[in-house]
């Protein structure tokens, strides 16, 4: 039942990508802008493919992905327990709400100099900033998901004498899991953008963002910059695809819940 559905989605997707590429190529070749300032899409794509064979570049991508994974993992490790706590104890939730709403809008880019003065310029700073930005979607989705759990199941267990913590772990956590997964998917995208953007702006070390920043220093570097951007976008696409696939496998029973979670509070 699922497989024809998935194949049905693959071909239009591919078509969409080709169409978008065609538009970019047409615009690039129309001669509206100087070639060295904005190369056509085919050149950029060729360079991106060429980079796949560059060992140093791949090392950099690996460093970025490592920071991404660490940041995302840390964010989940913080956000899920915190979300469970806040979702279960409304008093704490409303008490903390103001602080949370103050902290959330702080752009990580603004925090780069302060955090790097604390933690030095290296993976720690990157991971700290990624974690900071990625915590929120998971946190809010966890809280939201907790509110959506079926009270009947909770009451049943409570009636059988299970304690609060048991109810949490046996009913609410599994019920919240699809929402948490959706939150992780949103956070994964944010974490990747932040990993590359932080590297770009902090300018130190190795990574995809560093490659883009260094390429930007050359007099004709736009091609490399855009090739790096293509890589960033492709990584985001792959990560999203993997996570969606994972969600479908783990939670096949909640297609509607999933979409509710994706649009969930944040």
């Amino acid at each position: 039942m699922k497989r024809p559905g998935r194949h049905r989605e693959l071909w239009p997707g591919l078509l969409g990508v080709l169409l978008a590429f065609g538009v970019c190529e047409a615009v690039g070749r129309a001669g509206l802008v100087r070639r060295s300032y904005l190369p056509p899409a085919s050149e950029v794509l060729a360079r991106a493919v060429e980079l796949a064979g560059d060992g140093a570049f791949l090392d950099g991508v690996g460093a970025t992905l490592k920071a991404w994974a660490l940041g995302l993992g840390l964010a989940v490790a913080i956000a899920v327990p915190l979300g469970l706590l806040l979702g279960s104890v409304p008093v704490v939730d409303s008490a903390v709400r103001m602080i949370v709403e103050f902290l959330r809008p702080l752009p990580s880019v603004a925090l780069i100099p302060l955090v790097s003065l604390l933690l030095g310029t290296g993976t720690e700073t990157k991971v700290a900033l990624i974690t900071y930005a990625s915590v929120w979607p998971v946190l809010f989705n966890t809280i939201y998901g907790l509110g959506e759990t079926d009270p009947l199941a909770k009451d049943t267990l409570r009636a059988f004498g299970f304690g609060r913590l048991s109810v949490l772990l046996r009913v609410e956590l599994p019920g919240t899991a699809p929402f948490i997964a959706a939150g992780i998917r949103i956070s994964a995208a944010i974490a990747l953008i932040l990993a590359v953007a932080t590297e770009l702006l902090a300018g130190f070390g190795e990574g995809l963002g560093i490659f883009i920043a260094q390429a930007g220093l050359a007099t004709d570097g736009t091609r490399d910059v855009l090739a790096g951007v293509v890589w960033a976008g492709a990584l985001g696409l792959v990560i999203n695809g993997v996570l969606v696939w994972g969600e479908r496998r783990l939670f096949p029973w909640t297609p509607e819940r999933r979409t509710a979670g994706r649009g969930g509070r944040s």
């Binding site: 409303s94 008490a95 959330r104 809008p105 976008g233 492709a234 979409t259």
Partner: protein, 285 residues
């Protein structure tokens, strides 16, 4: 069998269990509690910063004073705003509002179009996922070549990155419309515009607002990013980067404070609008 219990009714059912706590949270006791916690946190911060005495971590008192000096020590007739506030904060907010507005309109419009048709969604999804993964600062060379320096480039960069949460959430919301209702609409022979207005949008509204709230907080962040673009002459983010390059950490903290306050106020405002449009039934505070 009636519809499954909505979160509203479930919440209502839980209310007795959880005590008279309003999840939207505005009883006097809750407000007092929040303020107390906030004050406690601030007091701790002040004590810690003064004890440590590092130039990197000025105490909140000094930060607040700097913020006051920068932006709020102006004449009364201008609501206490200084020249700097008028010259920096207002244009920044204006550009952010413009970028967010464009993102909202474009996102909802495109989201409805994409969500209506499974095929259109499948067509656009990979491109969307690709585009939203692009980090804004990396696109500077493209923007420089295509757009004019200053407001057009900044607004465009904000809109470009802020559109995705709205778009994706709107599409999801539209896709999730109850098929029963679609059948009812067919029976009533509603034309597409009526269907949109009375059926698709209202049922997708909670998710649209979730996307809008994400997008709004993103717009604030993007506002700072956009003022890193070449040719920026003023703005909150501009003040931030200028202070950074001059090692003026106190001003950096003051800007962070301002951003936190602005984010909080904007989010609260959007929540209020959401509550107006959707009603208390689906409180998503």
């Amino acid at each position: 069998m009636t519809q499954a219990p909505t979160p509203a009714t479930r919440r209502a059912g839980n209310a007795s269990r959880r005590g008279p706590v309003n999840p939207a949270g505005s009883t006097p006791r809750q407000v007092l509690l929040r303020l107390l916690v906030l004050l406690l946190a601030l007091a701790l911060w002040q004590a810690a910063a003064q004890a440590h005495g590092s130039v990197y971590f000025p105490p909140p008192g000094r930060i607040a004073r700097r913020a006051h000096e920068l932006w709020f020590s102006g004449p009364v007739r201008r609501a206490f705003l200084t020249d700097a506030a008028v010259a920096d904060v207002l244009p920044s907010l204006g550009r952010m509002a413009a970028g967010f507005g464009i993102a909202a309109v474009a996102g909802i419009g495109a989201g409805v179009a994409v969500g209506r048709s499974r095929w259109a969604y499948a067509l656009c999804n990979p491109v969307l996922q690709f585009a939203r993964a692009v980090p804004p600062p990396a696109l500077v060379p493209v923007f420089v070549v295509v757009l004019d320096f200053g407001a057009p480039m900044q607004i465009a960069s904000i809109a470009f990155s802020a559109v995705w949460p709205v778009l994706v959430n709107t599409a999801e919301g539209v896709r999730g419309t109850d098929p029963l209702r679609l059948d009812v609409a067919a029976v009533l022979r509603l034309n597409p515009l009526e269907r949109l207005r009375f059926l698709l949008l209202p049922s997708a509204l909670p998710r649209i607002f979730a996307g809008l709230r994400l997008s709004l907080s993103l717009s604030l962040i993007l506002m700072v990013f956009s003022e890193l673009l070449p040719g920026t002459a003023n703005g909150v983010g501009y003040t931030l980067t200028d202070a950074q390059s001059r090692s003026d950490l106190l001003t950096v903290w003051a800007v962070l404070l301002l951003l936190g306050v602005l984010g909080y106020l904007l989010n609260t405002a959007l929540l209020a609008v959401e509550r107006r449009l959707i009603g208390r039934g689906r409180s998503t505070a």
